[in-house]
């Protein structure tokens, strides 16, 4: 099973390059960097406040987008300072919790406490949760799974104490890291009841973000434990909120594609994966996800009898990850069974790791079919014996059955002469005299239209803007009316003028 999180440290090489570039650009002392990061965090507090006050999830999303960049620069000191800035009093429940897990006991903050006085001003829940998420990320990067999990348990209790729609995006993120921690701890099955319960609450509360996130987490959970039928049931029974964050939608589509592929519904799987790839963030952060999605897509295309574009394998982001798949594609394209078996032999371990091994085994028949098709195109008449030798089949008898099946499946247009033991190809139909081009054209138009519709849906519309527009429309209509009457009048005059001219 590949790990298709968009933000997991799967692409270490890329990450290193990025940090290198950062340090080259601005060679600064650690203190300076620390203060910069702290400033960033404080700025984010401002955004969160705006989000809460204006009920505008866009700002929270923006803060979360910066998380990937921020997490690499976090240090305990920065976090302590951030907590200091946010809570004012370290005796606050979350503050105490964070400090405990940072290994900084409250004692180090005593001066501050006396300064702020005994009153504990309420902290904005958004900021509270944001800091907790920051610490989750920090602990995850530290690699201390046990610590992360025990922190997660406490942080989740705090989260579940809140019920605010402006928290949704942050809450979803927190659940993500919560589930990730459990997964690293191999507690997948134990996690399920809790996730299902949260899915119910979030659905009741119309909490789209959490609902979408939990659905994908559950799917991942099921697929990880090979519970494909449960995953399929979940997809069927639970509505996925389309309006969720795009990265979550992308992940959901990937899982759906996987399920469909396993259940042999290749065209649906392909559609889901195209969606997943298109919706995934096209940055190096998402390289792991994109690679996994492309791997699966290559296999599905092969299973459908298509050959993936060569250019895909040349892209630097995929070149290395997809090289085993390249070998497969080559074998399928020319229909060479031995080469195909060799590729499976050689890269079997890699395919198993990617979770595509079982799908790849299904490809064998496609290889044979392509082989037969190549021969049918090249020869007008070929003996079954030769087919048998070319395809490395065990017996002529097998060859006859296989060719017969290929004819029935519409792979080739031919007949078999049993007594003389040869296959005779029929004349190749002129494809332009069939419905084929029409259908292909229809497919493309459908694709373009749905692309357009999805783009329209993906656009953001500012709230209450439609009222202003309504007013504008009214005015416009007025103007149009005036214009129309003017034109009418003008028309007559113009006509007259023209006639005059004649």
């Amino acid at each position: 099973m590949p790990a298709p999180e968009s933000k997991e440290p799967k692409v270490e090489i890329k990450d290193e390059q990025m940090t290198d570039a950062d340090t080259v650009e601005k060679p600064k002392s650690p203190e300076e960097i620390a203060s910069l990061v702290l400033n960033d965090i404080k700025q984010n507090f401002g955004f969160l406040e705006k989000a809460a006050v204006n009920f505008e999830p866009r700002f929270s999303m923006r803060v979360l987008r910066g998380l990937g960049n921020l997490r690499r620069r976090l240090t305990p000191d920065i976090l302590v300072n951030a907590v200091d800035a946010a809570y004012q009093s370290p005796s606050h429940r979350s503050a105490a919790l964070i400090l405990k897990y940072l290994g900084k006991e409250v004692s180090s903050m005593e001066i501050d406490e006396s300064a702020s006085g005994s009153s504990t001003p309420a902290v904005l829940p958004e900021i509270d949760i944001y800091l907790l998420v920051l610490l989750q990320v920090f602990l995850l990067d530290q690699g201390d799974i046990a610590k992360l999990n025990s922190f997660n348990d406490e942080a989740i209790t705090i989260l579940r104490g809140y019920n605010r729609r402006t928290l949704d995006a942050l809450a979803a993120k927190m659940w993500f890291y919560y589930a990730h921690g459990k997964e690293l701890n191999k507690q997948l099955v134990e996690l399920r009841p809790l996730l299902l319960a949260v899915l119910r609450t979030s659905t009741l509360r119309h909490d789209t973000e959490t609902r979408a996130m939990i659905t994908t987490l559950l799917l991942r959970n099921y697929l990880h434990t090979q519970a494909i039928s449960q995953a399929h049931q979940l997809v069927l029974k639970a509505d996925f909120p389309e309006s969720a964050a795009t990265s979550v939608v992308a992940r959901y589509l990937y899982y759906v594609g996987r399920i469909k592929a396993i259940q042999l519904d290749y065209s649906a799987a392909n559609e889901s994966l195209i969606g997943a790839i298109r919706k995934a963030p096209q940055t190096s952060y998402a390289a792991g996800f994109l690679q996994a999605a492309h791997k699966l897509k290559v296999i599905i295309e092969l299973l459908m009898g298509d050959i993936p574009e060569r250019s895909l394998f040349r892209e630097p982001m995929y070149e290395k990850a997809l090289s085993p798949y390249m070998e497969l594609v080559k074998a399928v394209r020319i229909g060479e069974v031995p080469q195909f078996s060799e590729a499976i032999e050689k890269y079997g371990a890699a395919f198993k790791k990617d979770g595509t091994y079982m799908l790849i085994l299904r490809l064998r028949q496609n290889v044979i079919k392509t082989g037969i098709r190549m021969m049918s195109l090249s020869y007008s008449k070929i003996s079954l014996r030769d087919i048998c030798i070319r395809l490395h089949l065990d017996s002529e008898e097998s060859a006859e059955y296989i060719v017969a099946k290929a004819i029935r499946d519409g792979v080739i247009e031919a007949t078999i002469d049993h007594e003389k033991g040869f296959m005779q190809s029929k004349e190749i139909l002129d494809i332009y005299s069939t419905q084929e081009p029409n259908m292909a054209f229809h497919e493309r138009i459908k694709f373009c239209i749905s692309l357009h519709n999805e783009s329209v849906k993906a656009m953001r519309y500012p709230m209450n803007q439609h009222r202003v527009e309504l007013k504008n429309v009214e005015e416009a209509r007025e103007r149009e009316k005036e214009l129309a009457s003017e034109i009418q009048e003008g028309d007559i005059e113009d006509d007259d003028g023209d006639f005059d001219g004649l």
Binding site: V189, Q226, A227, I228, S229, H232, I262, Q263, L264, D265, K352, Y357, M358, L361, R362, R364, Q365, I368, L393, D394, S395, E397, S398, E400, Y401, I402, V403, A404, K405, A406, I407, R408, A414, T415, I416, D417, H418, E419, S433, T434, Q435, N438, H442, I445, I449, H452, N453
Partner: protein, 263 residues
């Protein structure tokens, strides 16, 4: 409830099964299952008595195998469904089941014989590594591969020759599978050959008696004359059917509607 009588009855069932008295097994099973649910171990939970769970699992396994011998597909599927939670927590139940792989392989074979390929692959995906290694599971997997690529002769050999079939339970499916491949071959032949000598057809379709072939020809609606089978030719050429007007009109109207929303 008397735990003792439960255990004696469980032993009674095991001995009846060992003696291949499947009728008796089918009578013993329902009351035992009632007891299982009374003891709260019909559905395994982490809180259940782990020692008893192994007994419960063995009972259900016998039930599943009995269903196979009695050729009751539905019953078998139900038993497998009841067994799957036991297998899901197999690392907690001691001793490990010796029948698990066999039952899963039998289920795969059942799905294959029903031509439910999607379910077959869903089930197979849960096994991943074991597909190549386990003797039992290998069998349905290879059959499926051969069926898909069209090596019907290999399927024929694997299902009818005793030495190729892992255990007697698997042989029960042979009849169904032979019917499946025969009808597959028949549909393939209709497309692939214009005509075929009777003798060769008999060989291709794995018939041993001429009568069987004649009956089969009747069923498929083929015509046999002068010692050859003539397959019904497809009379409708797609080219001559003209332009599929309705389809094109429908598509074009669709485009118009979509374009209207855009402009």
């Amino acid at each position: 409830m008397s735990q003792k009588s439960f255990e004696t009855r469980a032993r009674e069932l095991a001995s009846a099964f060992a003696a291949k008295d499947y009728e008796r097994c089918s009578h013993l099973l329902p009351p035992l299952k009632v007891t299982l649910s009374q003891l709260n171990i019909l559905v395994p939970l982490l809180s259940s008595d782990l020692g008893l769970l192994a007994v419960a699992r063995d009972i259900l396994e016998i039930g599943a195998l009995t269903a196979i011998f009695l050729r009751d597909d539905m019953l078998f599927s139900r038993y497998i469904a009841q067994l799957s939670p036991f297998y899901a927590m197999k690392d907690k139940i001691e001793p490990a089941s010796s029948n698990e792989k066999k039952l899963i392989a039998l289920r795969l074979l059942l799905l294959l014989s029903k031509n439910d390929i999607a379910e077959f692959h869903t089930e197979l995906e849960t096994l991943e590594d074991e597909a190549d290694k386990d003797v039992y599971i290998r069998y349905p997997v290879m059959l499926e591969r051969w069926l898909m690529e069209g090596s019907y002769d290999k399927v024929w050999k694997a299902t009818t020759q005793r030495s190729e079939v892992p255990t007697e339970e698997f042989a029960i499916f042979a009849d169904i599978l032979v019917d499946t491949i025969r009808s597959e071959i028949a549909t393939c032949s209709e497309k692939a050959y214009p005509s075929l000598p009777l003798m060769n057809a008999k060989h291709l379709l794995f018939f041993t008696e001429d009568d069987e072939l004649v009956e089969f020809i009747g069923q498929r609606g083929w015509t046999a004359r002068d010692g050859r089978i003539y397959f019904p030719q497809e009379s409708t050429e797609p080219l001559e059917s003209g332009i599929p007007m309705e389809n094109i009109i429908e598509n074009t109207l669709g485009y118009a509607r979509e374009l209207e929303t855009i402009v």
